[in-house]
Every structure is written in C-alpha cells, then in structure tokens.
C-alpha cells in the first residue's frame, strides 16, 4: 500500500515529540469506527437508494421562491439558475472556480454556482443578485457600486456585487487589506477593481 518512493524518502522517525509520533491514534480510530458500524447497520437499506441519472424533480429555493424543475443530476446550479429559473444576473464565464461571475449566496455564504450541482442544493437558501434589488428594496452595495463606477462592461459586476455583500456581512468593518483578500475570487477584465475596493471600503466604514 505504501509507495516505495515515499517510504524511502521518509526514513526513520527520530523525534521524541508527539507531533511526530501520533500516539493514541488507534484508540480514537476505533471509537469512530464503532460509531460507523452502528450507523452502517441502521442504514444498510438506504445505501441502495441512489437516484437515477434521468431527469428528475429538483426543487430549488431561490430568493425565497420555490422553483420546481426537472433536471438531470449533472445540471450545475449555475445552468439551472440561468436557463431554468431565468435568473440571468449571475454569469457563466470560466466554469473552473476562478472568476466569480457566477457568485450566489447559499445559506448566506458566497459560492461559485458553477461548482455546485443543482440537485445537491435542494433545501438550501439560495440568493442571487436579483434579490438585492427586489421588492423596491435596494441593497446599499448597489448604489455604492454605481457611485464608484465599479462597473464597465458590467458582465462580472453582479457576481462581484453578491461577493461584496456576502463579504461585508461577515466583515462589516473590513479594512482595505481584508477587502483585497476577501474579494480575490472575482475577476474583472475591464479593470473595475479600484471602484470595487472604494465601494467596499466606504460601506465598511459606514458599518454596512
């Protein structure tokens, strides 16, 4: 099982310290394994309950509204939101967890919708950019983006707005450095970062 090359590299353990020895592992492992065995006995039946690969009922709760869809398991959350729920604020750009144009919130956390399967996100509270200006209530992030002209072609912008909202929710008093770290998951090709940073900083100072 052990790779020969790895073993050869490793050599003898010469330390007296616990972080090198790993004492007591076996005990805990057994404890967990026992729990697992118990669970196994209870759930043997459920194990065979895998669903089919055919299109099936999928219910997504987006912006408080339930969307009843028929989707194959392989449909991404992004495709479902854009193509089936017709909420096109989030965009498809990279499909490789890099650009952030598809950012939505799931249970309040910013997430790349391209990295999720729609079928796996049932029962979650999904929030898209559309919710940030729904029902006559406009999230302060939106006018602040406009004020600092944090948009040019605008294609990356909704994803950036959602990321900014999610970020500020968790870091309401963020510094510029924190903003630059937190919002590094969104790409803009036109180069609107300066406006985004100013916007986030202003909202953080105002305690948004």
């Amino acid at each position: 099982m052990r790779d020969r090359e790895t073993q050869e590299r490793y050599g003898p353990d010469v330390s007296r310290r616990s972080f090198l020895k790993g004492s007591g592992v076996a005990v805990a492992a057994t404890a967990i394994a026992t729990a697992a065995e118990e669970a196994l006995a209870q759930d043997k039946k459920a194990a065979s309950a895998a669903s089919s690969s055919k299109a099936q009922d999928v219910e997504l709760t987006i912006n408080g509204e339930v969307h009843k869809l028929k989707l194959e398991p392989r449909v991404t959350l992004l495709d479902a939101i854009r193509n089936d729920c017709h909420l096109t604020g989030c965009k498809e750009v990279c499909t490789t967890k890099n650009c952030g144009a598809c950012t939505v919130m799931i249970d309040g956390k910013a997430v790349y919708a391209c990295t999720r399967l729609a079928i796996a996100e049932q029962g979650k509270k999904i929030t898209t950019v559309e919710a940030l200006s729904a029902g006559g209530k406009v999230d302060p992030v939106i006018p602040c983006f406009i004020k600092h002209d944090a948009t040019q072609c605008g294609y990356c912008t909704p994803g950036f707005v959602v990321a900014t909202r999610a970020f500020l929710n968790e870091h309401p008093k963020a510094t510029l450095e924190e903003i630059q770290k937190g919002l590094g998951g969104n790409l803009c090709r036109c180069g609107t970062y300066d406006g985004v940073a100013k916007c986030a900083l202003e909202l953080a100072k105002g305690g948004a």
Binding site: R82, L132, T157
Partner: protein, 728 residues
C-alpha cells in the same frame, strides 16, 4: 444680433454636467443584474449550441461523421463549419488548435454536449510550428516572411560616432482578449424571413450585412440588437462563422438558437494580440540625445499574418538616423484581432525598454533621458513634446520620482525585496467615429435619442445623455437614450477610441440644431431676441431673465414635436484627435522568488474635452489594470510539443485581481487648452504604456533587464541568474 450660430461646446465654466463626475445612467441595470446580455437571452424554445473544435495545431481532417449526434434525443441540428466540410475545395486542412469543426444545437446545453461528444472526427496530424519567439527555427522551417524594411539618415555612421551605444533584445508574448462575455449570438427567425439577432458585438450597425451575405438574404431583413455587451477590446466586429452557424441552425430548426463560445474556444479562436520581439541597437550623444536606431523585429499574428507592421518602430520617438526591419512568422496559432490600441502596447515595450536600458548604460536618470528626447516626438504631432513635458512633471510629482529614484540596481533596498521606478510614454489618434443620430423632442418636453451605437463598457449612454442634457439645460433624467440596435441611425463600430467623440459630436449637433429652432419659436412667441436665448435649468432664459419653461417651449413645436439629425465627424471643433500620455510605475521585486508587485502606478492622460470625468477615469483605471495584466502575468502559452494553447482557461491564464494592482493614481491632464480641442477618445491610450513602464521599473529595481513581458517569476529569476553568470 447675437453671436453667429455655430456648432461648438459652451464655455467650460458654464457647464453644469460636462466635465463633471457623473454616475453612468445604465449603472443600475448593470450592477443589479437586470442588464440583459446576449448570453442572457432565452426566448421561449431557445436551443443551446455547443461546439466541436479540433485540438491539433496542424492536421488534415480525414473523416467527420455527425450522424451519431443527430440520433440523440433532444438534438435538433448539427452544423458543419467550412473547416469540417470535406466536400469543399481544398478541404480538411486545419491550421490551429481551436478550429471550429461542427456545432450541435439541442433542447438543453447538456444534450448539445452529448451531441458534440458523439461526433466522430479523425485527423492526420501534421507538423506544426507554434514558437513565435524563435526566429531562427521559424526561418529554418520556411515559416517567415519579410514584411518591411526602411531606413533614413546614416545609421551606421551615427552608431560609430555615438557616445553611448546599447544593444538589446526585448519581447512581448501573445495575449488573448479574454472577453468575459464570450463571442456569440442568439438568432431567431421571425415572420417574413426576418432574422432577429442578439449579438455580443462592438459593431451593431455593421453586422446586418455580414449576416445577410452568407445567408443569402437582404440586409434589410436582419435586426441586430446589443443592449449590453460583455467586453470586446477590439475583437467583436465580425458576424463570425459561429454567428452564421447559429442563424443557419435556427433556420433549419425553426427555433431560436443561442451559440456562445466556450471559454477555451473564446481564447483560442476569438482573437489574440500578436507577439513582438526585437533586436535593437541604439546610440546617444553625450547629452543623452538618441541619434541612431537600428532594429529588426518579428512576431506572429497567426498562420496568415497580422503581425506588428514595420512602421511605428521606434515608438512615439523618431530619430534622425533610423533603420528598421520587420519579419512575420506564420505559426499554427489562432488568428489575431485588433486588441485595444493595436499594436501600440507592443511597440511601446520594444522601444521604451531599449531607451531605458540606454539610460542605464549612460548612468542617467531615465526621466532625464526621456525628457532630453521629447523634441523627437514632434513627428507624430507638433503639440506632443509640450504635452509630454507637462505630463511628466505631474506624474513625477505624484509618484515621487525625484525622491525615490535611484540608479538602476543601486540602493534599491536592503533585503530580498528591491524597489524601482519606471516610466513610458504613449500616443494615440482617437478622435470621432462616424455617427448619425436622431434626437426627438416630444411636445411634452421629453427628449429621446436614437443611435446605432453600442456601449462596450465605456459609458456611451451616459455620454449621450450628458451631451443632450447639457445642451438643453435639462436634468439627466429627462433624457432617454436608445442605442444598441441597427434599426437606429448607423454609427461606427466601437473601436479605436472613437465612440465618445463620435456620439458626443453628433448629438451636440443634433441638439444645437433643435435648440436653435426652439429659440426661434420662443423668440417669436415671447418677443425676445433669439440671439440672447439660452437653455438653463429647465427653462429658456434671456440673460438673467426667464422667458419660459422648457416644457412651454416644447409645446411650441406642435403635437408632433421636433426631430433633428446629427452627423459627424465634422471640422467644427467639437472633436479632434491625437493624445499623449505619461505613466510611471513604482514596483517591488522579490529577488528571491521573482515576484513583482505594484506599489503605486501613476497615469497622466490628456484627452481633450472630458464629457464625464467619472467614466473617463474608469477607462484609465481599467486600461492600467489590463496593462498590469500583460506586464506581469497574462500570456498565451503554446505548448511546443502538442501545438496546443495549453493554458486556455482562467486557472492558468493568469489575470490580476483586486489585490494585485497596488495603488493606481489617475490624473487627467485637462488645462483649458485641452478643453478647447474638443472631445477625443480615451479607451486605448492608457493601455499602451504599462508594459514598458513596469518593465523599466523592474529593471531599475534589479539593475537587470527582464527582456520579455510578462515579467513572471520564472523570467525574473532567469534574468537574475543570467546576470550572475548562471544559466538563463
């Protein structure tokens, strides 16, 4: 009698809106996600199309069987591109990775994907050449072509007598446009054979004909809409073969078809900026004045040309004794398209890095060497030396050049991190593009304009609204701007920084024409001298006296209101062309990891009369950031072994993010002399200098030139290692 009625901008001090920082009027749509881009159009029944592309750099297609795709339930149409059409004349030869072979349209995107996978394509793989830098290897393969040579003065003699001579090699790799909204269209056939197209385009007025020809229909039956467009940067002027494919599949199926390029195909097939490399020798006299330039540059724009032309080298400057030669490499790489300020960014790198190294050799401050040679920029435009001089002073002050500058490689910092300053200059024509517009003043006083232009992120709508509102003395909210349709008066494509000049000039003319008619009507009705009238704050005034409200004046037009046309450009002073621009970079370089970070970046830019300072500054911020991208991280990596564009994804095609840009300081150089020049476009010029300015700053930090851009850790460390006598 008051002043003669001539088109023109008002006195600068009187402007209420023009020149101020005004939020873009379509900001809410864009920021809230309500803006509908082509990729967002999903009319009922829309089919989704996916592409089969060839992943060989050079091959012969031997077999293509699309029947298996057609058998998949949900697949509605399969289209074969010319490269996949084995029946055609000269068929089957593929010249670059990413060549489009077939498209599949299906009820759902995932089914279209299944269809693509079911297609059987067989190739005979042929020899390829994808190394754009290796001139000798390309020559050996017969893949080069001389594209120009010219000389003036006595170069050899001047180099012999020059006090300082520097010989250098510089380069810049190919990059992709990487539009975040990929190229693509949504095509739907309506009644009477009308083709309704949403296109991600910079060329709303110019697309109908491009679709009509290949489809064999009248251009009059093609509707083109682009209300919003997710980035073009020079690459979205054509209908493109994938546009034709969507239209044909829509016709075949009787359903709307949406075909947007996938990310890899967007990078490979939808436009790149050509590479450039140069061997150059230049010489200066004892004052630092450059007296001789001798260069040979080469690069590739793809298999059939499009490389950097011979003109333009040396960039901005021209020298008394100058010889230049250009060679094109025909490589198996995707074709080039215009990329923001073509090909100035490359020219700037190839020239201004050499000048900076000459300064290093002379032991002089780069600033002084650029300054000494400014008189040699007058060949482009007489006013440039003076503009550059003023801008250099401003930029130097903003970045602290005098306090921070140190000789190249000396006193750059104690530890591993070295700090340096660099600068570069640029120029661009810009000006006003062709534009026709209609301005409608309704009897209720509301104002509307119609123009077949587009907003590619530059703020076209806002510029039009400001122009009209300023002219009519109305608030911005009183203006409705209609653009993005070829059903409106034709306007030039948005390229070459000509849109703001084009639309503002034409709308000012239309608005002034309308206003003069209104003044005449008001003058007659209220018995005042029309020559004394002005439109201000929602009223028509005569001197300090309010004559009537705008609404009352509009009612004089009768129930049909008034419609005026505006055209341009014209020689009436509303617009002009040719700008300069100076940029300076303050960078830190980690000499142990090769990482370069921007501390501060200063961009000083002239551009005539500014309509909206907020969106104008955004253009400069954006251009600098794009510049930081190609200076430090982004490049197309062609794998020599497979011939493939191996980093055609956003993971390995590295673009800067919010933390990668340092502090950017934008300064618009706008004395009254600039205001009086009229409007000049701004999209391109500020993207030109960053490559050279940042490279020069790195050279200043290290005392070693990293010759090829982007300045990745690999190249920085290689240059350092070479300078210490190690392997390159």
């Amino acid at each position: 009698m008051a002043e003669e009625r001539k088109f023109g901008w008002g006195p600068r001090k009187d402007n209420v809106l023009i020149g101020k920082s005004i939020q873009r009027i379509d900001g809410f749509e864009k920021v809230s996600g309500k803006a509908q881009y082509t990729a967002d159009i999903n009319t009922p029944g829309t089919l989704y199309a996916k592409l089969l592309t060839c992943t060989h750099a050079h091959a012969k297609l031997k077999k293509l069987d699309v029947e298996p795709a057609k058998k998949i339930p949900g697949v509605r149409a399969v289209y074969i591109f010319p490269a996949g059409d084995l029946k055609a004349e000269g068929a089957g030869e593929i010249f670059w990775d990413g060549t489009l072979i077939a498209a599949v349209a299906a009820d759902r995107p995932e089914i279209a994907e299944d269809g693509v996978k079911a297609i059987i394509a067989e190739y005979e793989v042929l020899d390829h050449i994808v190394d754009e830098e290796d001139l000798k290897a390309a020559e050996a393969k017969g893949a080069t072509k001389a594209v120009g040579k010219n000389a003036k003065g006595k170069v050899e003699d001047a180099l012999k007598t020059a006090k300082h001579v520097h010989k250098g090699y510089y380069g810049v790799h190919t990059i992709s446009h990487m539009c975040l909204e990929p190229h693509g269209t949504h095509c739907e056939w309506k009644a009477d054979e009308v083709l309704d197209i949403h296109a991600s385009t910079q060329n709303v007025s110019g697309l109908a004909g491009q679709f009509a020809g290949p489809l064999g229909i009248d251009a009059a039956k093609v509707l083109v809409t682009a209300n919003f467009e997710g980035g073009g940067f020079g690459s979205k002027f054509a209908a493109d073969e994938w546009g034709i494919a969507a239209a044909k599949m829509a016709k075949e199926t009787g359903k709307p078809v949406k075909l947007m390029l996938d990310r890899a195909t967007e990078l490979k097939a939808a436009g790149t900026r050509p590479s450039g490399y140069i061997d150059v020798t230049l010489g200066a006299d004892e004052t630092g004045k450059i007296v001789a330039w001798d260069s040979h540059h080469w690069g590739s724009g793809g298999i059939s040309g499009g490389s950097i032309p011979v003109g333009g080298i040396p960039y901005v400057f021209d020298f008394e004794n100058r010889s230049r030669t250009a060679t094109q490499l025909n490589c198996n790489v995707g074709p080039t398209r215009a990329w923001r300020a073509p090909p100035h960014p490359q020219l700037c790198i190839l020239t201004h890095c050499a000048i900076d190294d000459l300064a290093m050799k002379m032991g002089k401050d780069s600033y002084d060497v650029f300054l000494t040679n400014l008189e040699q920029t007058a060949g482009t435009a007489a006013h440039l030396p003076e503009t550059y001089k003023a801008e250099m002073e401003i930029a130097a002050k903003l970045i602290g050049w005098k306090e921070k500058w140190h000789p190249h490689g000396k006193d750059a910092g104690k530890g591993a991190v070295k700090r340096g300053l660099g600068m570069a200059l640029h120029t661009w024509g810009g000006g006003a593009g062709g534009c026709a517009c209609n301005v409608k003043i309704h009897a209720d006083g509301s104002v509307e304009s119609f123009v077949g232009s587009q907003d590619i992120g530059t703020g076209t709508r806002t510029v039009i609204a400001i122009t009209l509102a300023e002219t009519f003395g109305l608030p911005l909210t009183a203006i409705k701007v209609n653009l993005g349709s070829n059903q409106y008066p034709a306007s030039a494509a948005s390229g070459g920084s000509i849109t703001v000049g084009g639309v503002s000039g034409a709308h000012r003319r239309a608005a002034q024409t309308a206003l003069w008619k209104i003044f005449d009507l008001v003058a007659a009705k209220y018995k005042v001298d029309a020559g004394t009238l002005a439109a201000k704050e929602g009223s028509i005034v005569s001197g300090d006296k309010k004559v009537c409200t705008w609404k009352q004046a509009s009612m004089l037009l009768g129930p049909m209101g008034l419609e005026t046309k505006g055209e341009g450009p014209a020689e009436d002073g509303l617009t002009s062309s040719r700008v300069g621009g100076v940029q300076m970079a303050d960078v830190s370089v980690d000499s142990e990891t090769g990482i370069v970070r921007i501390n501060k970046y200063v961009a000083v830019q002239d551009c005539g009369l500014i309509i909206d300072e907020l969106t104008a500054k955004s253009q400069i911020y954006g251009a600098v950031i794009m510049g930081i991208a190609y200076a430090l991280s982004e490049e197309r990596v062609m794998d020599k072994k497979t011939g493939r564009y191996i980093n055609a994804d956003l993971q390995n095609y590295k673009l800067p993010r919010i933390g990668d840009i340092g502090e950017i300081v934008v300064n618009i150089y706008q004395p009254d002399s600039e205001y009086s020049r009229g409007v000049i476009g701004l999209g391109e010029p500020p993207v030109i200098s960053p490559g050279a300015a940042i490279s020069n700053a790195v050279a200043n930090a290290l005392g070693v030139r990293v010759p090829v851009v982007p300045l990745t850790p690999q190249r920085v460390l290689a240059a350092l290692s070479k300078s210490k006598g190690g392997a390159a």
